[in-house]
Structure formats: C-alpha cells, structure tokens
C-alpha cells in the first residue's frame, strides 16, 4: 500500500508540475494508460480473494479518481492559461480608426419641399406638378397676361423654339401674319413661375381644388442674389365662399408651422399681379440677430423690420375662365413663394448660388439625414 501512496504522491506532483498538455498527457498515460501504474494496480485486484479485494479496492479506486481529477484539473488550468495567452496575443489597438462609413444627405431644397408638402397635407392640399418647358398660353395668356401686357416685361423669360413646329416654321414666311397669331400661343418658354400649374390643375380637375405646386422655375437673371433657375411653390384654393381672410389665415398657419413659431406676424400690402384681384404682397416681420435674419415678431417692433416674402391674392376671374372654372360659382386665392428663400431663412444659408454648385462640403453641412423625413408628429423642421 505504501507503494501506491508513494506512487500517487509522485504522480500528483508530476501532474501539477506538467507545463504543457503533452507533458500532462504523458503523466496520464503513465498513470491511467493500459500499462500505467494505476491500471496495473487495478489489474492486481483480479488475482485477489474477495476478502482481499474488498480491503484493497477502495484505496486503488480512490487513487484512480484522485489522479484522474488532478489530471482534469491540471488540463483545465493549462487550457485556460493557453486561451489567456492566445487572447493576449490577439489584442487590437482600438484607437485605430474603423473603416469609414459615408453618410449621405438630402438637399435643403428637397427637404423644405417635403416640409411644405407635410404642412399643407394637414390643411388638405395635394401636391401638383406641371411641365417646366411651358407654352406661352399657360405661362402668361391664361394668367391674364396677354402679349401686350406690361407685366410680361417683369418676367425675364427664357424662350425656346418648339422643336415640333420648327420644321413647319421654316419657309412659312408668306403667311407670317396668320401663323404669328397661332405661334404666339404655341411659343415655348421656360416657366417663369409655378402659376401655370394652377391652370393645368383646374383644367384637369375643376373646382373645388386645394393644391400646392412646388418646382423649378426660370428667369434670365443672374447676380449675387438671383440665379437663372430657382424653386417656387404655388398654392391654390378654389371653392365657394373663399375670401381674403382665408388667404391670410392660410399663410399665417403655414408660416407658423414652417418656422415653428407662434409669433409670426404678417403685413399685407396691396400690390398688383395680373392673375389676382385683389392682389396682396405679404411681408413678414423679422429681427436681425447676429448678422442673420430671424423671422418672428412684428416688423414694427424695436430691432425688427419687414421683408417681402411672397405674392398672393384672390384669383382673377379671367384666370378662372381660362381654366374652365365658373367664376360666378367659385372663387379662391393663390400665392407663390420662393422655396430656396424659405430654406435660407429657416436654415441660415446666405448664398443662393451655393445651392446649385454641388460642393460636397456644403451639401453635407446644410443637407439633411435621410431619416429626417418631415412628419407632423416629430415637427417638420430639423434642428442642428
């Protein structure tokens, strides 16, 4: 028995001394392998009498368990140490930069157009569209600006030959006077305002109608504050019993929602547009704060002034007639406002030309996250 005890003591010492899994396995083979001393000791039990066996077996079994447990424990310890070493070798410098993920952006003009659509949807306005290459009739004549109308001179119009009719025009000089009259109506141009969409929408859908029509418009004008292409949104309400008071309320409501301010104050001034009667120019009060115009408050307040913001009025009955709406039954209002201008006032850009330059730095600074889709519940504006 002493032999077994000595062997165990020596084996346990060797097991705990094993530095590698291989060394440990040698110990396992030496002890528990077929010819290992534990196995051999177990085999001796076979040659014993039952009495002897009963006496000797518990010690041998216990030795086997003890050795086996020790090997398992040592193995776990060695594996754990090996993993720790492996993990230590796998350490990353996580202060190094991760791969870039590029964030895209929505152009402020698109964002503001979405905001407008949201605000006006709440007021029951649908979004209407129309062609940018318009004919003279829709852009001018139907809006009560016939060929001789002086107001046409106020629109710096881009004209285009109609590619469809140009083949006929060649050599058609002999009937110049009669073809001129037709040509006048057919003459193509870039729409100078979004107002022709009024005509198209009324012709297509009749009255009552509530639409906004955002889009690109064009004037042959280019300087620090004007670009030959810009964006407008037109509003049109035609129904029974609509009057100037409804126009005022609609504009106030829209601007309060757009700027998310209750203190928007409008000043209505009589003006002139051929397509409205009465015509009203609308100023909004603002303060000059830190070199920026901040909309809000009355223009008559201290430190405040008025700025012209939009043109509007009650739709001229001639326009309704042109669009096939009975002016004795229906009346309503229209307004038009610059979208780029609204964007600048709300989000603080100061250079209109930058809107159309495509400078990626500008776009990512003034652009909007794809996930900032304007909603009424979240507020249509996006704060920095």
């Amino acid at each position: 028995m002493t032999d077994l005890t000595d062997q165990k003591t020596a084996a346990l010492a060797a097991i705990y001394a094993a530095e590698t899994l291989e060394a440990l396995d040698e110990q396992r083979v030496a002890a528990l392998g077929k010819k290992g001393w534990v196995s051999l000791a177990l085999k001796t039990l076979g040659g014993m009498s039952p009495e002897e066996r009963t006496q000797a077996a518990p010690a041998i079994q216990a030795t086997r368990s003890e050795v086996a447990d020790s090997i398992a424990a040592r193995k776990a310890a060695l594996e754990s140490a090996a993993l720790a070493e492996k993990l230590a070798s796998e350490t990353l410098d996580l202060t190094l930069p991760a791969p870039d993920t590029k964030t895209g952006s929505v152009h402020p003009v698109s964002q503001v157009m979405d905001e407008l659509a949201e605000i006006f949807a709440d007021l029951g306005f649908s979004v209407a569209t129309g062609p940018e290459i318009e004919d003279d009739w829709h852009n001018f004549t139907a809006l009560n600006m016939d060929e001789s109308h002086p107001a046409r001179a106020m629109h710096d119009t881009f004209y285009l030959p109609d590619p469809a009719s140009s083949s006929e025009a060649v050599g058609g000089d002999e009937n110049a006077s009669s073809s001129e009259a037709v040509g006048e109506q057919k003459r193509m141009l870039l729409r100078t305002h979004t107002s022709p969409v009024q005509i198209r929408s009324m012709k297509a859908n009749g009255a009552p109608i509530r639409i906004i029509a955002p889009g690109r418009v064009y004037r042959s004008d280019s300087d620090a504050t004007h670009t030959p292409m810009f964006h407008q949104v037109e509003g049109l309400v035609i129904d029974k019993n609509i009057h100037l008071g409804h126009l005022k309320w609609t504009l106030e409501t829209f601007l309060k929602a757009f700027f998310e301010r209750e203190d928007i104050v409008l000043r209505l001034r009589p003006s002139y547009f051929p397509f409205t009667e009465p015509s009203v120019e609308v100023d909004v009060g603002y303060a000059n704060t830190g070199g920026r115009r901040v909309v809000g408050g009355s223009g008559d307040d201290d430190g405040h002034d008025w700025m012209e913001l939009l043109g509007s009025g009650m739709v001229n009955r001639r326009v309704l007639e042109s669009a096939g709406v009975d002016p004795d039954e229906y009346q309503g209002f229209a307004f038009g406002v610059g979208v780029d201008r609204l964007a600048m006032l709300k989000y603080g850009m100061d250079d209109l030309r930058a809107f159309f330059d495509g400078d990626a730095r500008w776009l990512s600074h003034y652009g909007f996250s794809a996930f900032d889709q304007p909603t009424l519940s979240a507020g249509v504006g996006v704060k920095p």
Partner: protein, 795 residues
C-alpha cells in the same frame, strides 16, 4: 418713381409727418422703396461769407480766401473758382464734411504750400445741379453760419414703386389723390397759370393712324425764351432724378412727373408742312434724342412732317427737331396713343423711356386739354411768348366703364366688412361716380378697373388690409387624407434611399452647354436667349451637370465623391423624372490596414443601382442585364450595362464612365455612374375594382431547413455568368429558391476558351425532407439546364 416731400405738398394739403406718409403709401399699395434725406448728405455744409480774396502766391488759377464761418472764426480756404470774390456769400464745407458728388471727406490740407481749411462748393459738388463753372453764389442776406441744408430748404425724397396697373400714380398728383383718399389730407386742385390764346394754330395737325394715335392735340407758342428753369422747377426735377436741361424740356418733363402726362415740344423752325401721326414706312429711320438711330417699320406710329419722322410716337422724340437754347417757337404735342401698340413698338426697338412706360400702361384720356393748357400756361409764365389756339385731331377714348357693384362683395371676396357709406366715400374720393343703385362709373384714367373685384381692391386697400381678419379654411371631416401622388412617393423613397446609402443630393442647372449635351446624345430644347453658352440647352441627361460638379469638387481637393440628383431630362416627347448618381475617386481611402486606396468600379454602380431600384419597389428579380443604351462614349463599352424589364423597357443603366467623357470634363479620377428612369418603374399593381388593402399575401416561414448543393461548371469563356445563373435557377422553380455564384476561374487547369463557374444552389423542402432520389432529380435538372448554355459539369 422719386419725388420730394415738398413736391408732394404742392398737391396734398396735409399735416402728416414723413413717417405717416410713407406708412400710408405702403398701406395703400404704393410701396416705398426708400426715403432719402438730402439734409443728411449736406450735413457739415454751412452758409459762409468771403471776407478777402487774394491771388495764390504759386498758382495762377487759385485764390486764397478768408472766410467768415458765422461763428466768429475766420478760416483760410484755397479756392479755384473764378467767381470767388470778397463780399460774396457761398457754401462752405469744413473739415469732416463729406462731398456728396464724390464721397470725399474734407480735411485740412496744404494746396501748393498754402494751408486750406475747407472748400467752397459748386452746385455739382453738392449734387444740386450740373453747374460747375464756379462756386455757389447765395443772396447777400443769406445768414453766415446757418446750416446750408436748412437754408436751401432741402426736402426728403420718397421713392415709390408703382405697379404697372397704376399709371395714374406715375405722377405726383395721382399719388396725392390716393393719399387724400386714405385720409392723409386734401388733394389740392390743379393751379392753371392764366394765359391768353390768340389766333388759330398755324401748323396743320392730323392723325392718319386713328388706331395707333386716336387723338393728337397741338398748339404753337412763338417768342419763347428757352433759358434755364427756375430753382423750384430744377429742384423738383432733381428730386425725381432728372437733370434739368432747359425750360421747355424741363416743363414737358415736369408735366409727366407731376401729372403722369407725357408731352412733346418740337422746335417749330425745324418742321416743314403739316405734322401728322401716321404709320412709319418700312425702313424709315430716325435719330432719337438718345443719339441712337432706329429703323422703323409699318407697325409703328410716328409723328412726321413733310421732311420725315420727328418722333417715335409716345416713346422718344427726334434729335433734329428737339428744343435747344436757340428755340423760340415751339409746337406742343399732346396725344393719346394706343397702349398695346406702344408696348410692341418699344419692345421691337428695344427702346425704353419714361414716356413709353406711361403710354403703354395708359395715360388719362381725359387730361389732354387740361394737360396742354397747363403746359402752355407754365411756358408762357416762365418763358414768355404767345400761344395760339389749340388744334385737335381725332379724339381720345371717352366711354367710361360702368361696373355694377355689390358692396357685399367687399366682405365675401375681400374678407372685411366695410360700411356702405365708407365704401362710397372711398370710391368717390378716387373719382369714381357711385350711383344710388351702386352702378359705379370709373374715371377714364383707371384703365385697370375691369370689374367688381377691382372695386373691392380699391375699397380694401384704402380701408386697410390690416383690417382683414384671419379666417380658418374649412377643414374636411375626419383624419387628413394622403395627398402625395404615386410619382411623388416614388421620388421621395428614392431620394431618401440614396441619401441613406451614403450619397449626397445635389441640384444642378437644368441647362448645359451644347457640347455637353452632344456628349450625352444631344439636347432638343435650346434656349433662344441663354444667359451664357454654358447654360444653353435643356439637359437630355443629368450626367453632365453631375460630372461638372465632380470636377469642381476634385479641383477643391475632394478625393471621394458620391453625388446624386433627382430631376428632369428634357426630351422631344416631354420631361422625364430621372435619378443619376456618380461615384467618383476613392471608394476607400488609403488606410492603416489596406495601405492602398480602392476605387469605385462598375460593380459598385450595379450594387447601388439595384439597391435603389429595390427601394423604389421595382421588380429587381425580374430585371435583365443587357448592353447599355447605344449612345456612344457615355460609358466604358466593356464595363456598362442596362437593366431592363424586356428588351425595350429600360429602367436603369450603370457602368464605368468612358475615359473620353472624363477627359472632356477634365476629370482625372475614375468615375462610375448609374441612372434610373423613374417613369419606367412599373407602378404597384392594384387589381381593378379591388379595394386597396394593406394586407399582404399570407406567409409563414418553412418549418424544414433548406439544403445547399454546389456545382462547378466549365462554360465557354464568353458566356455571361448571369445567363448560366438564370438557367440554373429556372431548372426547378418549386424547389430551387436561390443560386449564387461563389467562384469564377480561368487559367491553369481550365481549357483554353473556357472558364469555370461554381454555383451554390439552395433547395427548400416544402412538406417533407428531400429523399436521395429527389435530390438527384433536382441535380440532374440543374446540370441539364446548364448544358443548354453550353456548360458541362466539372469532373
């Protein structure tokens, strides 16, 4: 138009302050664009007396003055004016004052070695007129030391914008009438200077063009002295920004600016025979008062005599018969011209004038005789001479418009309740005659009044738009309905999908240069009057605008760009909504892990294209990859393709931009691009008659696990991998749910002219797991399908 407060008060009896007047002008629709106070410009200039004047020791033309400033000080001032002399009174600018004409701030200086402590000023230096022959001479009783602005009586100048519908306010008198109606005072009656007319008009006057010139009145004045105008007249014209020229010219201008009534004065000595309003002959020429020659045609009305044309009717007189200092006998013309025709003529000739502005908007047809008498009276009063009787050819329109008005319309259209008596007062104060039955007779000068809505505007603007109360629009019952069209929703989805995928949205010009347009197939819409050659053709593609943006960004140092734009292409058959995206330069920058940057390639464009199409709801799984559209040189011919739903229905294209295109835009980084035709994406199908439902087709994930099988095929090298993949997928449409290519290889071990393509096929068991025989049958079907593409299973 500009006018001084003093001038306004010639016509308006008022105690209102300047601020009250400008507020009222804004409120009634005469927008104040600015108020200028000349007193501020003349600050620092005072009345001074010259005590002594000695010759400058070192300069022949200069004098050294001693000036009494009035405060007891005496200043030494060097002066170059020949009229400077001891004892005279003039205007002194002391150091610190700013000379209005040139913005120069006066300071102490030495002129040729002699100290000078200020400047004695000329009329021109103070911008009070043109005279620069000498310094201003003030009357002997002018108080030395007094502010010159006060002494001179300078009056604030108001600048108002007159809308084109109100030619009646293109004269001070008309503005005064509107202000009086708004309660700002009383309109003064016009003061007609008395004169005696004697003898018939010696010049025959006719109108042979009753359409272009319905009325032509005239009168001759002989023996006029055409000198300089008196101060009051010069000051009024100056306040309007008009240079005083001579009495006759100034008075015709005065009539126009004070009463909105253009007139013309001809030097009678330069006329021969009858003076006639007639159509010009084609090719006839005139040298106008602006020294330019105009060639006329027979659509234009002119005033001519036996010798030729003297006036482009209603627009500008001729140089030859204009009044000069020598003029003593004049023919005055006051006419009524057809407004539309004046506009056409003016546009044809490209000739603008104050007269045209008024005539084409419509002058007062009832102010011909009065206008002529007023002009005659002023000429005779200020320049002497003898006036003839008036001779009249034709007659101006005299049918007053009568509008049946319902005062209730002011509330129902204008949104404000105004008492009937007040409505009547307002209209009458603007010279409308209001009958007991509310039939309203309009003054002839109000060409803008067409119907009741115009009268509502008159009432509301004078009553005050401030009094219009906000009234909420009636709201539809229930919750708000969606208002966006399918096209708008598609555009929004694409825009936000693209931005979400890392692209920046740009907006570029709708017009591009002819050359750029030609590179993308040519534009069909070319502007007649482009702002520059770079902005001439309506773009047939969004690509050139974005490539220009890439170029600008690269020039600014950008190494990687991902831009997109959603806008229209302008083609012969209309305007097409389109998305174009460009991925330029580095896809990943040089980094610590990779070392080298990577660049975008055609597969990046394809991935982005499919991602966006998927977001747009396009049937991506049905799209065929086909050659890109045949417009040469947009894309690299071997690295581009289109995505189609059938051979003719192209939804999108993508690829590497052709190097020649990059050269044309001077871009030196690789660029890939993609374009999506929004209007080619099929709308989601809603069965006719079926109520649109939100519910989706029933679905529960399969209970059994899918299995995969790998196949390696040898195929002809030119076979598009996509063709093989489509065949494999189609081999068993029930069980095969996916097939992916995971290896493509050519070279060692693969025969010449062949390539190896490895495909992983995913099989989805439905009710029961696949049996071996079923799997073998599917396998055989896959191999058979591949064989039809010329593929053989690799051993």
């Amino acid at each position: 138009m500009k006018f001084s407060l003093t001038w306004l008060k010639d016509h308006l009896e008022t105690s209102a302050t300047l601020a009250e007047i400008t507020d009222a002008l804004n409120a009634i629709g005469l927008e104040v664009e600015g108020v200028e106070d000349p007193a501020q410009r003349l600050a620092g200039f005072t009345v001074a007396e010259v005590l002594t004047a000695e010759k400058h020791p070192d300069a022949d033309k200069l004098q050294v003055l001693t000036v009494n400033t009035g405060s007891g000080d005496q200043l030494q001032v060097v002066c170059g004016a020949p009229n400077a002399r001891a004892g005279m009174k003039g205007v002194l600018g002391q150091p610190g004052a700013v000379v209005p004409s040139n913005g120069m701030k006066l300071k102490k200086s030495a002129i040729r070695g002699v100290e000078s402590n200020g400047m004695m000023c000329s009329v021109r230096e103070l911008e009070l007129g043109e005279d620069h022959d000498g310094i201003i001479e003030l009357p002997a009783d002018a108080p030395a030391g007094h502010s010159f602005a006060d002494y001179h009586g300078s009056s604030p100048i108001i600048d108002v914008a007159i809308t084109p519908n109100r030619p009646d306010c293109m004269g001070v008198h008309g503005i005064a009438r509107d202000l009086a109606a708004a309660g700002l005072g009383t309109l003064k009656p016009i003061a007609f200077p008395k004169f005696a007319a004697s003898g018939a008009c010696p010049t025959e006057i006719r109108t042979d063009d009753a359409e272009g010139c319905p009325a032509f009145y005239g009168r001759v004045i002989t023996g006029v002295k055409n000198g300089a105008s008196p101060d009051w007249l010069q000051q009024r014209l100056a306040s309007a920004g008009q240079k005083p020229i001579s009495l006759l010219v100034d008075l015709t201008n005065y009539l126009m600016l004070a009463f909105g009534r253009p007139a013309h004065a001809y030097d009678l000595a330069k006329l021969t025979g009858a003076v006639v309003a007639r159509r010009a002959k084609n090719g006839e020429q005139i040298v106008a008062l602006n020294d330019k020659t105009y060639t006329l045609d027979d659509s234009m009305t002119v005033i001519a005599d036996d010798a030729g044309v003297h006036d482009v009717a209603g627009i500008m007189g001729g140089l030859e018969s204009g009044c000069s200092a020598e003029t003593t006998d004049v023919l005055l013309e006051i006419a009524y011209f057809n407004p539309a025709q004046i506009g056409v003529t003016g546009r044809k000739l490209g000739l603008a004038s104050d007269a045209r502005t008024r005539f084409e908007r419509g002058v007062d047809p009832a102010f011909l005789d009065d206008g002529l008498d007023l002009l005659t009276g002023l000429i005779v009063e200020l320049g002497g001479g003898t006036a003839s009787e008036v001779t009249r050819a034709g007659s101006p329109p005299s049918d007053a418009k009568v509008v049946a008005f319902d005062p209730a319309l002011t509330a129902s259209l204008g949104g404000v309740d105004v008492a009937e008596a007040e409505q009547r007062r307002i209209l009458e104060s603007l010279d409308f005659e209001v009958g007991a039955d509310w039939k309203v007779t309009c003054p002839l000068r109000r060409h803008d009044i067409e119907g009741p809505a115009d009268l509502v505007e008159e009432v509301v603007r004078i009553h005050g738009l401030d009094n219009v109360a906000s009234v909420a629009l009636p709201r539809a019952e229930g919750v708000a309905r969606p208002t966006a069209s399918p096209e708008q929703k598609l555009e929004r989805k694409l825009r936000r999908a693209a931005a979400g995928a890392g692209l920046d949205e740009a907006i570029t010009w709708s017009f591009i240069s002819e050359e750029e347009a030609a590179r993308v197939g040519g534009g069909v819409w070319s502007l007649d009057n482009p702002i520059s050659e770079d902005m001439k053709v309506m773009r047939p593609s969004l690509l050139p605008g974005l490539l220009s943006a890439v170029k600008r960004n690269v020039d600014r140092g950008a190494s990687s760009l991902q831009l997109f734009e959603i806008g229209r292409r302008y083609l012969a058959d209309g305007e097409h909504p389109t998305l174009v995206a460009v991925l330029a330069g580095e896809k990943t920058a040089r980094g610590w892990d990779t070392g080298k940057p990577t660049h975008f390639d055609a597969y990046d464009a394809k991935a982005m294209c499919l991602q966006l199409l998927e977001a747009a709801g396009a049937p991506v799984h049905k799209l065929m990859v086909m050659p890109a559209e045949s417009i040469a040189d947009i894309y690299h011919p071997g690295q581009s393709a289109s995505l189609r739903l059938g051979p003719k229905n192209q939804l999108a294209s993508f690829g590497t931009i052709h190097p020649a295109m990059l050269d044309a835009f001077d871009i030196d980084v690789p660029v890939v691009a993609l374009g999506i035709h929004l209007d080619a994406i099929p709308a989601p199908k809603v069965k006719k008659g079926a109520s649109p439902s939100f519910a989706r087709a029933a679905y529960s994930p399969p209970a059994l696990q899918s299995v995969t099988r790998d196949f390696a095929f040898l195929v002809p090298a030119e076979l598009p991998a996509g063709d093989l993949l489509r065949s494999v997928k189609g081999a068993d449409k029930v069980n095969i749910v996916d097939a992916k290519i995971f290896d493509v290889f050519a070279g060692q071990g693969v025969a010449e002219g062949k390539k190896s393509i490895a495909v992983e096929v995913t099989l989805q068991p439905q009710e029961k797991s696949f049996k071996d025989a079923e799997l073998k049958a599917i396998s055989d079907a896959v191999i058979a399908a591949a064989q039809k593409q010329g593929a053989e299973l690799r051993g």
